[in-house]
Amino acid sequence: MSNVAVAAPRKTRGPWAVALAKLAMDRAAMASLAVFLLIVLACLSAPLYAKWAGVDPFASTLDAVIQIDGVDVPVMEQSTEGLGLGYTPLGPTWRLGNYFLGADSQGRDVMARMLYGGLSSLLISAAATIFTLILGTAAGLVAGYFGGVTDTVLSRFLDILWAFPIYLLAISLSIVTIAHGITIGPIQIESGSLWLPVIIIGIVYVPYVARPIRGQVLSLRHSEFVLAAVNLGVPGWRILWRDILPNITTTLIVFVPLMMALNMLTESALSFLSIGVQPPAASWGTIIQDGQALLYTRPLVALVPGLAIAVSVMALNVFGDGLRDALDPRSKVRLGRD
């Protein structure tokens, strides 16, 4: 028996746990995540809110009358002074469930539309992010790994896509598809479907993801473990799946919040231009558009969704930065026990 005391092996945490711990220490990122989750929760409650408030956020209710402190108040008030021109929608009542943010020019409850609008904006930006990541990753992996003609063709195609001004491309695609939707073989997406903006936004940002992924794959392609696998005769798809994909996962994770923020902005812009979410459905972009005609009398109708977009995008970007720092092994964020 040896007298030499053997030190117990130090239990080290895995890279994910380290990243998580680093992220948890980043106060700005955590605060942003909390804000974003709060927004998501609020938006998810949209149907409950509408039911509780007893309003239909998608139907015109120009003749509706509500009660405030026992007094009947029309949601659309006609001017009684002078020539009696024009109608002004009800302003904010600041009473939850009773036109909290007032009415829009169709007499609809702005608060209920804000929540439904947020739901649409979040759903579209999340789905478009997944769509972009799948297409962009596939293109980046194939182009980077197989190289040669495949790389040239894919890269030039991505270059062409990237060369178009993003909004111009999105607007063109929207105008083409807006009236009749898209039909590809047995798949038919109707013109009013939320899938249309998802696909359009998803497509225009593919190069944004594919190019950095291709660069990473190109460098991984010549790493020793990949060369070893190639020499052992492991099939290409298996190398991509088992060896390369796991090594780009962190990049993809960092892309998620950043792409979501970008997609949310794009969705809002397209909806504002009437080529995203179609009326009477709501998104924050369409509510800003509705509010544009009320800027003088009811500025909140445009300001609130604008603010919601700004806060959500900022929260996603700050969280995305924190996530990138946490997942970067060269990050300067240091954990006490490491």
């Binding site: 015109s60 020539l83 020019s105 009437s274």
Partner: protein, 553 residues
């Protein structure tokens, strides 16, 4: 002697060389200054033979002249045709197929060239050479027009428009009598331009004019300057009166909100575009004396595609007509002061109009309330319940809000409806083309001239429907041979007995309304907001506010 004096006075009046004392005095007192007008954008090409916009036509009034013109007078008097470059209204012969005009002498273009018979003949040929938008409709009845339409470049209108330089006359021969010919000749598309004007769209290049004013500068992105024509001498106060301001400065690019503020601050005198809806209340209460509300001969309507489900079914169309609450639409447009509910095609105060409203709670002369029960029953009876309907609107605040409301209505009576707002630049042609399979849309029609046919015949005759064309103004695709024959009869009757023709048009209006090829939404009114300094505002029913008949000093 007395008779001679009276005759001389009458002749002077007819020639228009005599100014009423009031106008002469006013001209002395208020003549001069610059009127500043604002619009979000220019009205398109400057070429009067091509431009087909309200904005352009209004501006052309003090600039260009035709052989005849609509009287520059307030209200309904503005619908009267008076001689302009012609000395008198034409002599009609050959069973209403030949019109002979005697050209006035001594009129010069702003370029200094003397107006002659050759200019008139060349101008009529030019309508076809530049493929004017109404060459195939308004002027297609002129003898030789068919050849001109087939071969625009070599158009001569041989036998159709004949000039006699020596006698100073122009004879227009038409293939069949047309009671509306004088109206068509009084439109800007038939104004007289110098014979050497290139036979192409002049775009941004001003063309010399005979009117009291001329276009002296134009930049489609910035503005237009209209100044006095140095060669103008008033020949007819009715047709082309002298104006008050020395310059009309028309600036483009400001938003409607900014334009309202500019007028409030006295930096501009008038804006072309509709006032923003959220400023109406404020302006209606604080700036009442600067607002002018005038009736329009116009129609906001929702064409229903008679050749596509579900509206190929008459009951389905009638159901929509019963369900729509016109009061709500009036509310969306700014209230009862700015619009009135409507059921029929012909606007109020229009030839042939007789109040009629079958699609309301208490059918009769006027609309009272929607009848949703009846509408739902008709949807059931038609067997179209649950079908999908897409409404195409313009992407403007008003049109979009009407579309959203209509979507609610269609949903409430059993359809699965959605709305598609598309750019105003393309919506009007998009909804006309059958290839786009538009089921329902929201649009407007403003009269070209005061005749019932300008609504009924143009919007609902079989000839106005063209499969697969962007210029199929019968958007509903309505074609009823019996009604078509009646419209032809009314057009023919108008040549000899306009009153009887208008009676027949009223009957046609009722028949078309009953078939509900389109749903009338409301009749709009024009709301003009002017600066405090602007005086003598006069609204002409044909071409709206008479710009140069107002003064700014």
């Amino acid at each position: 002697m007395k008779e001679l004096l009276l005759a001389a006075t009458a002749a002077a009046l007819l020639a228009g060389t005599w100014l009423a004392p009031a106008q002469a005095e006013y001209l002395k007192e208020h003549r001069g200054g610059t009127i500043r007008l604002l619009a979000r954008s220019a009205a398109g090409t400057l070429d009067p033979h091509i431009n087909y916009t309200d904005q352009g036509w209004q501006m052309y009034q003090p600039i260009y002249d035709g052989l005849v013109a609509f009287r520059k007078a307030e209200g309904m008097d503005g619908f009267t045709v008076v001689p302009d470059l012609a000395e008198t209204l034409p002599q009609v012969s050959n069973d209403g197929k030949t019109f002979t005009f005697k050209l006035r002498k001594g009129i010069k273009f702003s370029s200094g060239q003397e107006l002659g018979v050759k200019d008139v003949v060349a101008s009529f040929q030019r309508i076809f050479k530049v493929s004017g938008p109404t060459s195939g409709t308004f002027y297609a009845g002129i003898v030789g027009a068919d050849k001109c339409l087939a071969d625009t470049k070599n158009c001569t209108l041989e036998g159709g428009v004949v000039g006699d330089e020596a006698a100073g006359t122009i004879t227009i021969n038409i293939a069949k009598p047309d009671a509306e010919l004088l109206y068509k000749l009084a439109l800007p598309h038939a104004v007289v331009l110098p014979a050497d004007t290139p036979a192409e769209d002049m775009g941004s290049k001003p063309i010399p004019s005979t009117g009291a004013y001329m276009i002296s500068a134009f930049d489609p992105n910035k503005g237009m300057t209209v100044s006095r024509n140095p060669n103008f001498k008033q020949w007819s106060e009715d047709a082309q009166p002298d104006g008050y301001p020395d310059v009309v400065q028309y600036d483009f690019g400001l938003s409607e909100e900014a334009a309202v503020t500019a007028i409030q601050n006295g930096e501009a005198d008038w804006m072309f575009d509709a006032l923003p809806s959220d400023r109406l209340g404020e302006l209606g209460s604080k700036s009442m004396d600067q607002l002018h509300i005038s009736p329009l001969s116009a129609w906001w309507y929702a064409p229903l595609n008679n050749r596509l489900a579900p509206f190929d079914n008459e009951k389905a169309r009638q159901a929509v007509a019963y369900a729509i609450d016109r009061n709500t639409l009036v509310k969306l447009f700014g209230g009862k002061v700015l619009a009135s509910p409507v059921c029929q095609v012909l606007p109020p105060d229009f030839p042939g109009h007789e109040d009629y409203c079958p699609f309301t709670k208490n059918p009769g002369a006027k609309w009272s309330a929607p009848d949703l029960d009846k509408a739902k029953q008709l949807v059931e009876d038609s067997g179209t319940k649950g079908q999908k309907v897409t409404i195409i609107t313009e992407d403007t605040a008003i049109s979009r809000s009407i579309g959203v409301y209509l979507q609610s209505v269609l949903t409430s009576i059993g359809y699965v409806a959605d709305v598609k707002p598309i750019s105003p630049n393309i919506q009007f042609t998009y909804i006309q083309n059958t290839n786009n399979k538009v089921q329902m849309s929201v649009t407007q029609w403003y009269k070209d001239y005061p005749a019932a046919s300008d609504f009924l015949n143009i919007l609902f005759s079989c000839a106005s429907f063209r499969e697969g064309s962007d210029a199929s103004i019968n958007i509903a695709g309505f074609c009823d041979k019996e009604i078509d024959a009646k419209m032809q009869k009314a057009l023919d009757l108008g040549v000899t007995d306009q009153a009887a023709a208008d009676k027949l048009w009223a009957e046609i209006d009722r028949q078309v309304t009953d078939k509900a090829p389109a749903v009338g939404l409301f009749t709009p009114k024009r709301l003009d907001f002017v600066s405090k300094r602007l005086g003598n505002f006069k609204f002409n029913r044909q071409f709206n506010w008479m710009i140069t008949q107002s003064w700014v000093q």
